[in-house]
Every structure is written in C-alpha cells, then in structure tokens.
C-alpha cells in the first residue's frame, strides 16, 4: 500500500478576496469568520457601543493550559465572555472504548495531570463494580493514602497558581517544593513522577516500599507546620486578600443548578463531598471533617481559596490515620489476566481535588468497554466563569478562573 502523497497546494490566501480586503482595511476583526450558528453565539458576537473583543489564549500565561477565552470588553470591564475549548481534546473516551480494561488506566491517566491518581481511581472502581471484584483492605488504604497525598500536592499547586495569576512570583516556587517532595515520594512507589499508573482493577500495583515510607515519615514530621507557614505567606497579604474578596461570588442555588462540586460547592456553603455523600473505599472508617465556607450569600474567590487550605489540613489527618490503621495483607485481588465482564452498566465517582470525578462504563461482554464516559468537574466549573465574570474587570477574570482551579486536560479530555 502506498502512503498518501501529500499534494502541493498553492498558497490559498494569495488571492483570497476576504484577506485582501482585510489587508486593505487593516483589520482582522471578523470573529467568528462564519455566520453565527446558535442564539448564544449571535448574541455574543454582536458588539455594542464602545465594546471590543479580546482574545485570550490558547497560549496565554494565565489560562491554565490551552484554554481560549474570548472576552467582550468595554474598557477594562468584561461585558461577556465565551470560553472556547477543545485545544487539548485528545479523544480519550474513544481511545478507551478501543482499549481493554487494564489498558484504560494508562489511557485515562494524563487526563487531569495534576491529580492523576484520582483519574485512575474512578474507572477502577467502576470496573470493580462491573466485575464484582472485592478489593483487599490494604489496597484500599494505600489508595486513600496516596490519593490524599496527591490531593495535598494538587492544592499546593493551586495555591501557587492563584498567587501567580495575581502577580506574585514567589509562592508558586514554594508550592512546587511541596509538590515535588510528594511526587518524588509517590515516584518511589509507583515509578513515575506524574502519571503514576498505579491503581489496578482489584488493588494497586505493588505494595508500599521502604523508600516511600521513609520519605513520607520525613515529610509528615513537618507537613502540618509547613502548611501553616505556607498559609501565612499569602493570607496575611492585604493586596492578595483584597484582590479575591467579593469576586466571583457563587450562591447556593447557583452552585446546585450549575452542577458545581468539590471544593467549589463547599465554598458556597453546601457540604457535598463524595467521600461523605456517597462513601467509597475506606472513607467511612476514617475521621475527617468536611470543611465548609461561605456565608448565606454564597462563597467568593477567597472562600474557595481558604477552603482548599482547610482541606489540606484534613488530608494530613487522613494520612495520619491511614498510616496508623493500615492492615497487613495482599494488595491485589486474584483476578484473571483477560477480563470479560458480564454485559452491564456501572457508574463510579470519586472526590478528586477538583470535585466529583465520575466514570460511566457500559460493558458488552468483550474485553473492551462498549461505552466509556468520563465526567470531569473542571469542565462543569468552567461554565461558571462566563456567569461570574460579567461586569467585572479583566484582572478579575484571572482571579476567578484560578480560584475555580480548572485543569485543561480534564476539561478537554
């Protein structure tokens, strides 16, 4: 079979009348270059008096990846905005439908690259439901332990990014120190720094080892103190607090209707945490609080920021309990290599650092899922930005977007 020959095309825009006209006029402002297809698009792409479009991204320092946001601004004020996604759409769902069940764990791993263990956790749980697998208790404890460690790393990065988006240079470097320690710790047990590929159907891939435990011991001995120090770095900064207070307020009803989950809904005053609302793994046996912030009017960016710091405290508690209560035993259930679950459907959700991360699997009896659906919390949260940003300033867009903590890998799948 011969490979398709790449034909040589003439320069398509050499005599393109539209571009010629643009060159004469000297402007390229036709956004979008096609007639609007929906009501919302028509509304958005109509400029009012004194308004202009500002295109942020896909490469922009503060869009957390390759998000593109089209802002309609009037001076410094944001009138409306339209997030454009898909610049990181890797087709994970389709790929998962074409991989066997073990393989999916590695396909879905890079989805939300900041907290990839949770991306493994949900499908693994769904498959276990589908195949009626009982997971050893030690494996469940290890999952909780590593997951909570990664939650701390993720929230540490959030703190740094928040500061970076508000113009502070230093906190991001401090939070990366924390994150690097945790990630190296996990690399000692999983073998990878970011995309761990550690959870397996029916357990985890390998028991905890000596290096992990010694690193963890070192870290735990000062984690709580270090956390309080990191809090002090930013929370006592007047500029920082003033930039976030009363910005991007989400009230309770909006949070529910918009499908907000995770820290963002808890910052709006609703104690919805999948670990408590729909307990999984060994979370029912562990003691921890579900921190809630936000007054009656809902929560603003500062609440969302502070709530994540509270969560780190709780996570340290959980890790401590895990270390003390972890039983001995196997870390993998005995399973066949080739898995062909019975036809059926399963849904599993975990509480990732960003909220409810769910997977929905339909099996048709083969060794590959018939349908594999990923629900990512950042995807839902990003919708809020359009609602929250109206009549705020451009600089607030960054504060609000950072406080919602979206990760583009998860949003775009």
């Amino acid at each position: 079979m011969t490979a398709p020959v790449q034909p040589h095309y003439p320069h398509p825009s050499a005599d393109d009348p539209r571009i010629m006209l643009d060159a004469q006029i000297g402007q390229y402002e036709q956004v979008p270059p096609y007639p609007p297809r929906t009501e919302r698009e028509a509304e958005f792409y109509t400029l009012g008096d004194g308004e202009m479009f500002l295109n942020m991204g896909p490469q922009h320092p503060s869009t957390h990846g390759v998000l593109r946001v089209v802002l309609k601004i009037n001076g410094e004020k944001v009138v409306d905005l339209d997030p454009v996604l898909g610049y990181l759409h890797r087709g994970v769902e389709k790929l998962c439908e074409n991989s066997d069940y073990h393989h999916i764990i590695s396909q879905i791993d890079p989805l939300e690259y900041v907290s990839s263990l949770f991306m493994e956790w949900a499908p693994v749980m769904a498959f276990e439901k589908l195949m009626d697998v009982q997971v050893p208790r030690r494996a469940e404890y290890i999952r909780v332990l590593t997951g909570e460690l990664l939650r701390i790393a993720s929230h540490a990065l959030f703190q740094g990014w928040m500061a970076l988006d508000l113009g502070g240079l230093t906190p991001i470097l401090y939070s990366f120190i924390e994150r690097d320690e945790i990630v190296e710790m996990l690399a000692a047990v999983t073998g990878q720094r970011m995309l761990f590929n550690y959870f397996r159907i029916g357990g985890v891939n390998g028991d905890l080892n000596h290096e992990f435990m010694s690193r963890l011991g070192d870290w735990m001995s000062r984690a709580a103190v270090q956390h309080e120090a990191n809090i002090g770095l930013l929370n006592e900064n007047e500029i920082f607090v003033r930039r976030m207070r009363d910005i991007g307020r989400v009230d309770r009803d909006t949070a529910l209707r918009m499908g907000v989950t995770g820290p963002n809904i808890r910052a709006a005053g609703i104690p919805f945490d999948v670990r408590r609302a729909h307990p999984y793994s060994v979370y029912p046996e562990l003691e921890f609080n579900v921190p809630v912030r936000g007054s009656n009017g809902g929560g603003d960016s500062l609440d969302r920021y502070l709530l994540r710091l509270d969560e780190v405290r709780e996570s340290i508690r959980i890790i401590d309990q895990c270390l003390h209560e972890m039983p001995d035993g196997p870390v993998m259930a005995r399973l066949p290599r080739l898995m062909r679950p019975r036809p059926g459907r399963a849904w599993a959700a975990v509480e990732s650092p960003r909220g409810l991360f769910g997977t929905y699997v339909i099996s048709d009896g083969t060794d590959q899922p018939f349908r594999f659906r990923i629900h990512d919390p950042s995807f839902v949260h990003l919708q809020l930005v359009g609602m929250l940003m109206k009549d705020n300033l451009i600089a607030d867009t960054m504060a609000v977007m950072a406080s919602l903590d979206p990760v583009m890998g998860g949003i775009d799948k």
């Binding site: 759409h89 396909q107 995309l195 048709d364």
Partner: protein, 244 residues
C-alpha cells in the same frame, strides 16, 4: 446475537445496549456521507497573514520549497549576508545565545507541569540563563512544546512559532510531541510536532523528568554552538520515502 448474555437480569439489558445483528445494520461509510475530508497540512502551514513580513508576500510558504532553493544551499539562509563579520564573531554570538535561551511560557498539557517544575527551586533552570519565561512570543528564543498537540491546537502553535523572531529553536518535550505517544491512535492528535514545525531537540518521556528537560535544553545550547546557524538536516513532515 453473537453475544452470550451473562445472566437473567442482564439479558434484556444486553439486548437494549447493543444493536440488532446482521450486516444490514452496519452503517457503511461512503465518502461524502458523513463527512468530507479536511486536509490538515496546508491550513497549518500557510501564514494567517501572508503579507506580514514588511508588507511583501512571503517567498516561500513551505520549508520544503526552501530546502530546494538556492538559499538553503548557502550559509546565508539564516543569518543573511555575514561575509564581513569574521567567523569568530559568529561563534561569540552563538556562545551568547547559548547562554541566554529564554523559553516561551506556553504549555499544552501534562508536560507543562514538569516544565514549570524544571524552573522552580529544586531543578533550577535559571542557572543556565533559561529562566525568564517570556509570555510574549516576540521575546522568546525557545519554544518548548510541552504536551499533546491536537489538530485544533496545531494552527495556533504554528502561528506562535511564526511569531517568534529569528533565531529561534524548538524543543519537543514528551512522547506526545515527539511521536504521538499514548495518543497516537486518536482521531484528534498530531503524531509528533515535527509534522508541522521543525524540531531541534527531542526530549522523550511521559512526561520527562525536569532533569530531562534541562538536559535537553543544555543539548540545545550545545547545538546552538556547534550548528553555527544552520537548520537541522531533516525537513518538515514525513521523512520516509513515499515508496515505502
């Protein structure tokens, strides 16, 4: 029904989940039925503003044309007429460039986190003068493509590359950018960014450790010094002969 139902409860379910059997249900994909093909390469490679270079249309739109032109054969392809400047001055300029490689602050996916990690306290990229991540492509020297490149992002990325002033270099970080990596089979990714832009250094790994990126950047510095202003040997696009 080729599928064997697993149990009494799931029998009805399986019947609903899957389509009725037979060849008739197979939807044949005819050329124009579902879609008409989109040709990716040229939309990627044509400049969005053809006249952006000092109001004159570009002489070349593809690097492949450049390769066959006389320009590529002479030393002047990149630096212009340098006959007056002695060779050693050229080396000194390269030494200067080698020690001040400002990357563009642009990350695509997972690798971007490790790229940031390479710049932070533990692995301090700043030691080699690689730190000030410039937010504007106009002031950057190196484009570190960190993460999966999708077909939708390819256009903007090439545009970023075009917006960077010469001399510029490109580092492909991670498996996805080098070859497609674990998303090679997907319908919306590009199998390696060398299909759309020239690459100087490949840093494999999924993702590579920050030390790996730093090593790649140091290799780039070495290349800058040794290559003395020449383009890499390989052109853009598939570099396998068409008869294979």
């Amino acid at each position: 029904m080729a599928m064997t139902p697993g149990g009494a409860e799931t029998a009805a379910q399986a019947a609903e989940d899957s389509a009725p059997g037979g060849e008739a249900a197979l939807v044949k994909a005819a050329p124009g039925d579902v879609s008409s093909p989109i040709i990716v390469p040229n939309t990627l490679w044509t400049s969005a503003r053809p006249n952006s270079y000092e109001s004159t249309a570009a002489r070349f739109t593809h690097l492949r044309e450049l390769e066959h032109s006389d320009l590529m054969l002479s030393d002047t392809a990149r630096w212009g007429q340098l006959e007056v400047i002695p060779t050693k001055a050229d080396l000194i300029i390269d030494l200067i460039r080698m020690n001040s490689l400002w990357p563009l602050l642009s990350g695509l996916a997972c690798c971007a986190i490790e790229m940031m990690s390479a710049a932070t306290s533990k692995n301090d990229m700043d030691r080699w003068g690689m730190f000030p991540f410039r937010a504007s492509p106009r002031q950057a020297d190196v484009l570190i493509v960190a993460g999966t490149l999708t077909t939708k992002m390819a256009g903007p990325l090439v545009r970023l590359w075009e917006q960077m002033p010469e001399p510029k270099w490109c580092v492909a970080m991670g498996d996805c950018t080098c070859s497609g990596g674990r998303y090679k089979r997907s319908y919306s990714t590009i199998e390696g960014i060398d299909r759309v832009m020239p690459v100087d250094v490949y840093v494999p790994g999924c993702p590579p450790r920050p030390e790996g990126l730093i090593y790649g950047m140091m290799k780039l510095g070495q290349l800058v010094k040794e290559r003395r202003g020449h383009w890499p040997e390989h052109p853009i696009g598939p570099n396998v002969p068409q008869d294979v």
